[in-house]
Symmetry: C2
Subunit: 610 residues, 2 copies
């Protein structure tokens, strides 16, 4: 397979359209809202390393990563918008980090002030995870602005980590408890050219699952929790904590490409297949249980109790994107798109201020009432988004991912430019300019204009699309349409975008007899606020006609149709002889990403099939 390289965030700008709208909200609201919540809770102050016992806001082991992701998101925003206030906030934060980095290069706002003698002793304590996010933020800020102070700070830290872990092996553990630094080091290597960082990343990948010393987990966890059950090249299934898993898989793809390591890439392919064909919600959500925020077993996809963490969907989109660069097969970008438009995007409110950590596919407020009867209630996802969490990884992750979406659109190798995703945008690089115009995902028409030197364009044909036209000759290969191009080539692609009802495998017991309504990349759901109570009793015919109508509130189409339900006022007591007696029910289906933006109500993705 012919791999390709990303063309770099700085070179791609989104233009008016669905995601550009979300980026505006991200720039105007999310970046400041997250900043303020983090400032209020002491996360920025913690970097000053001046906390003393008894003072409020005791630093937490993962707070540095929260700030780092905010920094990275803010840096991406500068690509789009010269926001001087934001620059000031970023630079102040970098200065604080610089002032408190110790002489070895070490920086961690928790261990520098609380357990100073415990540095790098505990594999579970997120030091390398925090370091990795800080490195990513430093690389991004350098790439976007050219300013290298933060990069140098983090190189000094990376050098120290390399010495302690790879050269001396003097830490209390060998590989990180929470993966992240592996992929960050590869970015650091690309930004600096320093091969040590690549080697250190490879070291962590090679050593994982091979060290007795690392067999220490939380009480509730086992080796799978941290992807430590086998050496990585022998892993075939997605296991354990879903965010840790996909961050790790991202780095595995990177290392497999850097070293042309086929065994490692084969493991990536197997794991990806296991996720896509056995362990993923139709929304692209992954990690179905709250216990360990983890993958469980094949086909175990409970809707109401879905964990499906926002960060995990994001990590899956990135993993899938890297797979599509390594091997241009549309199955990868299809999954990236599925996660992006659904299980990731549901993580943030339409106003950009509030967030879901968990993204269930069904909400039954009565189940929360049930919990209130008992003291030791079972875990259920919250029903409305919140501005901040104690463990607030998702909000800044949403921020940085939405700000960085330009990264996902295109990639390039010697003779082909790949178009993986559809967003109005302009991309400029090395004598080439690509202008994409589209109303995707509302409509399936894509117009591409290529100016400059380009011999071939490969456009992904989404897996959800069974009928499309392209106004040029093309060759279809692994889900990409390859088209000869030259200067001033215009290409018009039209994907038919009918409403499609999907069923899930008979092995997914939860969804038996039920269908999910989709259109293009969007998964739809019904909510009590539109469709009354007892949503699980509403049924829909396979041949039903839908009216598709653009909706300002969701900035996307909503769907109207007629369904059926039993008349609950006909019903006496609990059990009656079964009848085929139904009344019609007007249904409004909204994009899944927009659920829970109109107060608490029932919500359902998998609708009964009549």
């Amino acid at each position: 397979m012919q791999s390709s390289k990303p063309i770099g965030m700085k070179n791609v700008k989104l233009a008016s359209g669905f995601w550009h709208g979300r980026q505006k909200i991200n720039e105007d609201m999310t970046v400041y809202s997250v900043y303020n919540r983090f400032a209020e809770t002491g996360r920025f102050n913690a970097l000053k390393c001046s906390w003393t016992e008894g003072a409020p806001n005791k630093p937490h082991i993962f707070w540095d990563s929260d700030v780092a992701k905010w920094l990275e998101g803010a840096a991406y925003i500068l690509c789009e918008k010269q926001d001087e206030h934001l620059i000031k906030l970023i630079d102040e934060t970098i200065d604080t980090i610089e002032n408190n980095q110790d002489e070895t290069g070490y920086f961690n706002s928790y261990f520098l002030v609380t357990e100073q003698d415990q540095r790098f002793c505990h594999r579970t304590e997120h030091e390398l995870y925090c370091a990795g996010h800080l490195m990513e933020a430093a690389v991004t800020y350098f790439e976007i602005t050219g300013k290298d102070k933060f990069l140098k700070i983090m190189c000094k830290y990376a050098d120290y980590i390399d010495k302690v872990f790879r050269i001396e092996g003097s830490a209390g553990f060998t590989t990180p408890g929470h993966p992240e630094i592996e992929l960050a080091l590869i970015r650091l290597y690309h930004a600096t050219g320093n091969l040590n960082y690549l080697q250190l990343s490879k070291f962590f990948i090679d050593q994982r699952g091979c060290n007795e010393k690392d067999n220490k987990f939380y009480d509730f966890a086992n080796a799978k929790y941290a992807q430590d059950h086998l050496p990585l090249r022998e892993q075939k299934t997605a296991e354990g904590h879903a965010v840790r898993a996909v961050y790790l898989y991202n780095a595995m793809v990177d290392i497999s490409q850097e070293f042309q390591d086929e065994a490692l890439f084969d493991a990536c392919k197997s794991i990806f297949k296991n996720i896509a064909e056995r362990r993923m919600y139709i929304t692209g959500g992954i990690g179905s249980t709250d216990v360990g925020e983890a993958f469980t077993i094949d086909y175990d996809l409970p809707n109401q109790k879905a964990y499906a963490e926002t960060c995990a969907a994001l990590g899956l989109a990135l993993f899938a994107h890297k797979m599509s660069l390594a091997s241009p097969d549309s199955v990868y970008a299809d999954i990236a798109e599925r996660a992006l438009y659904n299980g990731f995007l549901s993580g943030v409110s339409l106003d950009g201020k509030s967030f879901f950590y968990e993204n269930p596919l069904e909400i039954d407020p009565k189940q929360h009432k049930r919990n209130s009867c008992t003291h030791t209630a079972e875990h259920l996802p919250i029903m409305q988004r919140k501005e901040i969490f104690d463990c607030s990884c998702c909000p800044p992750n949403v921020l940085r991912y939405i700000a960085s979406l330009g990264n996902m659109l295109y990639s390039k190798n010697d003779d082909t430019v790949f178009v993986h995703h559809f967003m109005s945008s302009t991309a400029v690089l090395e004598g080439l300019k690509i202008t994409q115009k589209t109303n995707y995902p509302s409509e399936g028409d894509i117009h591409l204009y290529i100016k400059g030197k380009c011999s071939k364009i490969a456009i992904r044909i989404p897996g959800w699309c069974s009928s499309f036209t392209i106004d040029k000759e093309y060759e279809l290969k692994n889900g990409y349409a390859y088209i000869k191009a030259s200067d001033n080539t215009e290409i018009q692609v039209s994907f038919e975008m009918p409403v499609r009802m999907m069923e899930s495998s008979p092995y997914v017991h939860e969804n038996a007899g039920r269908i999910a309504v989709t259109r293009g990349p969007l998964v739809y759901c019904i909510e009590g606020v539109d469709c009354d109570e007892n949503l699980r009793d509403i049924s829909i015919e396979l041949n039903t006609a839908f009216k598709v109508k653009f909706d300002e509130f969701f900035n996307a189409p909503v769907l109207f149709t007629k369904g059926y339900r039993r008349n609950s006022s006909d019903f006496k007591g609990l059990y009656m002889p079964a009848e085929n007696r139904y009344m019609k029910q007007d249904l409004k289906l909204i994009p899944y990403f927009g659920f829970a933006n109109r107060g608490i109500s029932e919500m359902l993705v998998w609708i009964l099939k009549k």
Copy 2:
């Protein structure tokens, strides 16, 4: 309403038929199997009150109740069978209790040897519950055999309890943590004529929910857990620990009848209605959550995680039976029958040796595998019955209830004999003999022969029956057919017993789009051992024809029909465009009570409706 009185266990003998078969197993297998398991685990030895610190089998606070229920079950068996060995075991046990009862009358094998200064200090510790079960056993043994030693022992204990709780109020609490003694005291009053026992029972009923002193619960529990949230006459819904609840409701009915207490009986009616119309599985199982083994909220009836304790179904059957004596309306005996044939009877294996504590309506073995991924697994009912539990209340409760079924059949007032249930039997009392012949529940024909003085017979017309014939003139009132009778009256009743598919209320979200198959009083289920995997994907048409065939293994009819399912080998991956494409599936439906008698496999009551 015209109330009626039971005609007494000694006067009713079951003859060849469904329940007689179960009684034989009970006599030959269950009584000895339970005895042996209890003996092995030290439950009988504990009565010797000679345990010392460090010795094995430390007595437990509820062991006396286990032994007491065994004693009561064994005593009932003597009614049917003069088993000398059993008599010896019973009398030895009574002697041991007598030898260790202290001079006050107190007997508790836990507090007499472990925490001697803690007697009657802790409301949560089951002392009065154990006392109540011992009283019931003593009354039963006296009624069946005429021997009064045990009765006297328990009267002495009851006198002491009356002094401590009612007269002096000197205990650490006012009302029992776990109800049971309330109903036992009424039986003791009827056996002895001692009004103090009736007054003490009424005292416990009147005081419940009224005492600050009693507001101490387990950490996980609240006032509802122990039915302490309101004075009993103000309670309208079934709350808290289901077994505690129904035992208490039994006594409430008794006291309401003894004292013609309408407010109390109104509470019983409201609570019964709440159970029957909102909080009961179609099997008669109640208490849907393992957390506190409790009732939750209306319509919350999860199938896979159903707790539906065997003892709770039994307690509901007894509560319903008492309601039917207090007020001859068939809704009561209908529910008693539903619980008896389904959610209670599933609690014991067909061979009489093993027991379920919990009685789910769906088993998915894969969910147990899912649990094995995680350390802090969610609670799921076990998939195969066990011979004994640490908390082994259900096995001896099954024993005593099956042995005592004759109690349920008939009741009588000045001019009417009520036939509540249908089992081949002879009943003899005061110059009257009733012979009932039937193959119920396999067939719906009942033949009654009345010899002696009788002016009216009232036969329950089951709620499941929409068409029946009686070969005599009758007047239908509240679900009972009243027929004039005289010496040598023969009555032939025929209930049509078609297969009926039931749906549940649209408010029961769990069962939306699904139906349960029933025939007569029996609820049916499908099992993986007959119908392959992915049972939730199997669907059935409302107009499908069933073949009804008597099955020796279940000693009841099984049903054959054709259903539909998707072909799982057609299915690629997780999600595909939905189609109406099915293959036929031969279905064998077995009586719910017989599930899990052929190894671990999927099981399902609520089948998808096609």
